[in-house]
Symmetry: C2
Subunit: 193 residues, 2 copies
Amino acid sequence: MGRKKAYDRNEVLERAMDLFWRVGYEGAHLSALVEITGLNRFSLYKEFGGKEGLFEEALLCYLNGARDSYQKLLGKQPLGLDNIRSYFHALTYSPDYHGCFIINTLSEKHVVTDTAFTLVKKFTEEAKDLFKANLDAAVEVGQLKKKSDTKAMAEYLLTVDQGLSIYGIGDPDNQVKEQIVSIALGQLFTEKL
Amino acid sequence: MGRKKAYDRNEVLERAMDLFWRVGYEGAHLSALVEITGLNRFSLYKEFGGKEGLFEEALLCYLNGARDSYQKLLGKQPLGLDNIRSYFHALTYSPDYHGCFIINTLSEKHVVTDTAFTLVKKFTEEAKDLFKANLDAAVEVGQLKKKSDTKAMAEYLLTVDQGLSIYGIGDPDNQVKEQIVSIALGQLFTEKL
DNA sequence: TTAATTTCAGAACGATGCGTGAAAAAAATT
DNA sequence: AATTTTTTTCACGCATCGTTCTGAAATTAA
């Protein structure tokens, strides 16, 4: 038969994802991708169709990981405000934090494929829906007023989430992040019955 | 003597700024810059030193405009919470809104000069200071509790501001933005004496 | 009119980008 | 061992990138 593949697809995607995450679509050149993944050019084109295909797959890889993280904290039963608190308090900036793949992709709207852009927008909608599910549950059990506009509140939380990603570029301070989160959540959730 | 310049430096900067704002540093190619500004290559290098220099000057141009906008709304006497409300309510997304030059530059940290990156970080500090000045004034006149941590609140407002810029990428809705702002500010400012 | 200086116009340059192709190597089957 | 198929290796081609260069044009002064 044919020669065996010398690469592991998942490892290739992990490494490509890291590079794309770090330097964006336009910044990640084929030669760098070839080097960092150890994948030869022929195989890259055969396996992924080219740079665009690799980008989309790497982005999916990232979004799947992020989806798991969101689900783990925001999907935990029972749904409610505690999940939202846990989610935001769990956010931390590692020393080599270099921004958010999602926001990089949004900023590169002019060069990434429509598919990639759409994947990102869909993901942010999912995140918003997760926030909303927890807010809706909070209304049901009386943690929030019945009249609460959980849709707008979910939009707000997503906005704060994304603002915190921007805050992380440069020298973020996890303590300041905690202060921001306390204000963001403290004010939102003071409307008890 | 020598031939007269056929370009207007400010107009060149305005046009270059618009392109850089739209497609970022890496996406704005020399040929596109030459075409959109009408400036010939020799002059571009003579006047600005090259692409990097033009980028920095265009970024400065943008930041100066943004600084004026911030000052106009957040620097208005008397300082206080009304300024902050006015600022956020004045934010609107035009139909061709395509993101924020500042955030694009942050995302392109790996390719822009240290100078450019530093300019952006300094600007966000200034914006934060403007928020803080208004919060401090609010404490003085009793709009906020004496114990309010205006530094953290300013960090929070900047985070919301930047989150709103991200929200604007791809079909933003100004009414949703108003809802987000109402939540972000409404609860923050309910702690009266 | 000539000379000197500066800018314009556009081409050339070297480096680098992405994508393709051919030969060699590996693996299984006959 | 020969054949077939697939992957690896590495070179190549073309386009594009930012920068430099050269001749022409414009402007002023002598």
